[in-house]
């Protein structure tokens, strides 16, 4: 079969047993790869019904038909499991050479179950997989563990690792590869629960493309388009440039979502961050956009060499959300999260929530205050080292609120347990809907509904049910992008997204796939995630927002206000637009 190896490798790390499981063309065409195929594999494993940190839980690294092709931004992989943070489906994506090397092992996915008897390294070298003791790696940061592995195994292997946070099963621990993270939902904790510190992959198995010449031509044209104005923002400024725009529109979550703007925001802007710091740009393997902007930690005088990748999400979560206006602190906190293997959004969200609880007297931690720079860094360290408070913060804001009581759950910044990204839902109400119904919780990657709010299609602070179909459209596009897999920063270059995606898939696989089929595929993937969640215990009451966001306007924008009734109307319109029952269950057929 073109584009695929037509199998996945199932590895039981309790016994070391490996089994190659066939994947038929119907399944691959129905779920494509990446997130879509991952959800299908997990449903087949009955993964929804088990504790995500138990040995029975499954964790899948899933590649896609486009990996290894000349198409720009296609070097990506999805990590799919039940989330220990939300107890719902979790699909987190990461990029670069691990995807290419992983697929070259001759498998479309690597599915891990069991628990290794001791801290271990999982090696997959072509079609052979085995475990090695890795006590010497346990405790190392991501960067040090990957450097050690590179030194030991050589440059032909690529590595995915967990940091100390994953080892300790912090519920929002990441899996890291070459400075990038499968970040959200705690897949690092799942790997840590299996006693796997690292996975090393190397291979020599290549896939054939159905129409290689036409594919090369299309890839060339796509690369040229990827250098145009639609990606200029990412290339020249990076996602951090959102900060000033969001602040100006008063949708920048500040001090645990109490405000939508931050007084000293200019100090954190990319323009100011570059002053007196070395700034470099890099890209994932097989990418022509080059969106990654790295800033030196410390100033030029200090002679430091540490570089920190800075994205909007870590900037907002470790900056304004915690009331921090010092760029050096935000950079240090981002680096700490990278090293320890912590999701920056959940870490920042949980700490911001704890800061508010401490200020209100619900947590006995007088040092933990909004705007306190050392406090942010101390809190991150405590999460990873496991102090009394750190252990509570490691559970995420929802569990922390449940532990504290006093109705603090009303201002815990989460949906289904996943901390809310940097888009205030009151000022971006189509995004509010996207967050509420998101299969993995508050999610700006699986729903791009903010695009609707940033358009003439709706009044972003007074959105009606007509926004539901538009929200569905952005979710469907994301479902296909995350299954093909292509980078979302490319989305602006497509004129006919589904049609052009279908053409890519056709040239890779030879299937006569068209735009309508891909739209149906998107719905199937979203349905599969819903099915997973229903099996895991989902109820309609979960599709909501924290009470604060449904009862209080933003302090600095009185027009930015939602109500439970308005959100419920939007959710019902969304469910009906999806073809589900009004309260969000799949129809019997």
């Amino acid at each position: 079969m073109f584009g695929y190896h037509s199998n996945y490798l199932r590895i039981d790390v309790t016994t070391g047993e490996t089994r190659r499981v066939a994947l038929d063309a119907l399944t691959l065409r129905a779920y494509v790869g990446g997130s879509g195929l991952g959800v299908k594999l997990l449903l087949d494993e009955s993964a929804a019904e088990v504790d995500p940190l138990s040995p029975e839980a499954a964790l899948a690294f899933v590649f896609s038909p486009l990996v290894g092709s000349p198409l720009t931004t296609s070097a990506k992989f999805a990590v799919v499991s039940k989330s220990p943070l939300t107890k719902r489906i979790n699909d987190s994506l990461a990029s670069s050479s691990f995807a290419i090397a992983g697929k070259k092992t001759g498998h479309d996915a690597l599915l891990i179950v069991g628990r290794a008897p001791e801290p271990s390294l999982l090696l997959i070298d072509d079609r052979r997989a085995w475990l090695q003791p890795a006590r010497d790696l346990w405790g190392l940061t991501n960067e040090k563990a990957q450097a050690r592995l590179r030194e030991t195994l050589g440059p032909e292997f690529q590595f995915a690792t967990i940091g100390p946070a994953g080892e300790r099963q912090v519920r929002y621990a990441t899996i890291s590869h070459d400075g990038r993270h499968a970040g959200r939902g705690g897949s690092g904790a799942v790997l840590g629960s299996k006693n796997i510190k690292a996975i090393a992959v190397r291979g020599s198995q290549h896939c054939e493309w159905a129409e290689p010449t036409a594919l090369a031509q299309l890839a060339k044209a796509l690369s040229e388009k990827s250098l145009g104005p639609a990606t200029a923002k990412y290339r020249e400024l990076g996602t951090a440039s959102n900060l000033l725009v969001f602040n100006r529109l008063k949708v920048l979550p500040t001090r645990n979502f109490q405000q939508g703007s931050f007084p000293n925001v200019e100090a954190l802007s990319p323009e100011q961050l570059g002053v007196g710091r070395e700034q470099t740009r890099t890209s994932c393997a097989a990418c022509t956009i080059g969106c990654e902007h790295l800033y030196s930690l410390g100033n030029k005088k200090s002679g430091t060499t540490a570089k920190v990748r800075l994205e909007y999400e870590n900037l907002f979560a470790l900056g304004p959300l915690c009331g921090i206006d010092d760029p050096e602190t935000v950079l240090a906190a981002s680096r700490l999260c990278d090293e320890l293997g912590l999701d920056t959004i959940s870490a920042g969200g949980t700490i911001a929530f704890a800061m508010e609880c401490a200020e209100r007297g619900y947590i006995d931690a007088p040092w933990l205050r909004f705007g306190d720079r050392p406090a942010l860094l101390r809190a991150l360290e405590e999460i990873a080292t496991g102090t009394n408070l750190g252990n509570r913060l490691a559970q995420g804001s929802r569990r922390l609120a449940q532990k504290i009581g006093h109705d603090t759950i009303a201002f815990a910044p989460q949906v289904k347990g996943l901390e809310i990204p940097g888009y205030d839902p009151r000022g971006l109400q189509t995004m509010a809907l996207g967050f509420a119904v998101g299969a993995r919780g508050a999610d700006h990657n699986r729903s791009g509904a903010y695009e609707v709010d940033f358009s003439e299609a709706v009044d972003r602070r007074n959105v009606g049910p007509e926004a539901a179909l538009l929200a569905v459209e952005t979710e469907d596009k994301a479902a296909i992008m995350d299954s093909l897999i292509l980078c979302k920063f490319l989305r602006g270059v497509f004129v006919d997204y589904f049609g052009e995606s279908a053409e890519m898939l056709r040239l890779v696989t030879g299937w006569d796939v068209n735009a309508d089929e891909l739209r149906n595929t998107a719905q199937r993937i979203v349905d599969a995630k819903k099915e997973f969640n229903i099996r895991a215990g989902w109820t309609p009451a979960e599709d909501t927002l924290p009470e604060r966001m449904l009862s209080q306007p933003l302090l600095d924008d009185a027009k930015a206000q939602l109500s439970p009734e308005r959100l419920q109307t939007l959710v019902e319109a969304y469910n009906l637009a999806r073809g589900w029952t009004r309260d969000g269950f799949l129809e019997e057929d």
Binding site: V245, L249, E456, F489
Partner: protein, 87 residues
């Protein structure tokens, strides 16, 4: 009529200013005025009284506008920004 303009992201980088004023009674006129005064901004972001693909405008922080015939009023504030808000 003079309109206040704030620029963000690529529009700011191309114009080299954070704020400026521009004259015109509608969005298209204001964009044409900006294009005349800021050639680098025009080359990337403005084409024939329209914003190019990838860019948008917001009026007074209230609503997004792209139609060049959108009427502007004295005291209006126009924000020019990248269309793509995500990341």
């Amino acid at each position: 009529m003079l309109i206040q303009v704030e620029l963000f992201g690529i529009p700011r980088a191309r114009a080299g200013v954070e704020k400026t004023t521009a004259s015109g009674d509608c969005l298209g006129d204001v964009l044409a005025d900006l294009a005349t005064r800021f050639p680098d901004l025009a080359e990337t972001c403005i084409e024939d009284r329209h914003l190019r693909t990838g860019y948008t405008a917001n009026l007074c922080g209230e609503r997004f506008v792209t139609d060049p015939e959108t009427t502007l009023r004295e005291g209006d504030l126009l924000l020019l920004l990248n269309l793509d808000a995500g990341g």
